[in-house]
Point group: C2
Chain length 112, copies 2
C-alpha cells in the first residue's frame, strides 16, 4: 500500500497537482526530510544504519518513508543498502541552505 502524491494528480495544496505541492505533500510527512537529509549525508546505508542515525525513528515509519521515497524515485536500493538518486540529491541540495537558516532561526529564538 504505497500511495505517493504525484504531480498532475490532486494533492494537498493543489487539486491540479502542482509539482511543488506534490513534492511538499511527499516530503512534508513526518521524518521524510530527515531521512532524505540523513541518507544524503551518510551515503549508501543499510536500514539499521539509517535507523541509528535517525535516533528515534520507528522501523515501521522508516520503512514506510523509504517505500514512498523509492516510489517517488528520490531513493533507490543498491547492493549496500539505500541511496539517494540523482533527483533525490538535487532536492537534498535545495534543502542544504535551510541548515544555516535554521541556525539563524535558532539563535533568534534563543535571544529572547
Amino acid at each position: 500500500m504505497v500511495r505517493i502524491p504525484k504531480p498532475g494528480q490532486p494533492v494537498r495544496g493543489s487539486r491540479s497537482g502542482a509539482p511543488i505541492m506534490a513534492l511538499f505533500d511527499l516530503i512534508g510527512r513526518r521524518w521524510a526530510m530527515g531521512v532524505l537529509w540523513t541518507l544524503s549525508e551518510i551515503g549508501p546505508a543499510t536500514f539499521r544504519d539509517l535507523q541509528d542515525k535517525c535516533e528515534t525513528i520507528s522501523p515501521a515509519v522508516l520503512n514506510q518513508r523509504l517505500k514512498e521515497l523509492q516510489a517517488a524515485q528520490l531513493v533507490h536500493k543498491v547492493a549496500s543498502g539505500y541511496e539517494v538518486t540523482a533527483i533525490g540529491r538535487e532536492i537534498y541540495q535545495d534543502l542544504v541552505p535551510l541548515g544555516s537558516t535554521a541556525k539563524r532561526w535558532a539563535r533568534q529564538l534563543s535571544d529572547q
Copy 2:
C-alpha cells in the same frame, strides 16, 4: 495547546535538537510548507484568503499550523491578517529552488 519543536530540545531526528531537525519537525507537518509558501506568495492574507488559496485545507488544521508558525516566529499577525516574518521569508526563499526541481522531478516521473 501549541507545542512546537524548538532547537536545543529533543525533536524528531535529533535528541539534542539540531536546528535543522527542529525546523524539519516544524515545517514537515501536513500543510506547513504549503501554508508558508502560499502566504509568502500572496502577501498578507486573511484566514479565509489562505483557506481558499490552499484549496482543500480544513480550518482546524490551518488554524493549528498558523499557531505553530506564529509560535516559531515564522509568521505573525498584522492589521490585514497574517504575514510571514523576516526569518519566515528567508526560509521561504530557501524553499523557492524546490519549485523548479519539483518540475524536473515531475517531468522525470511522467517520462515513464
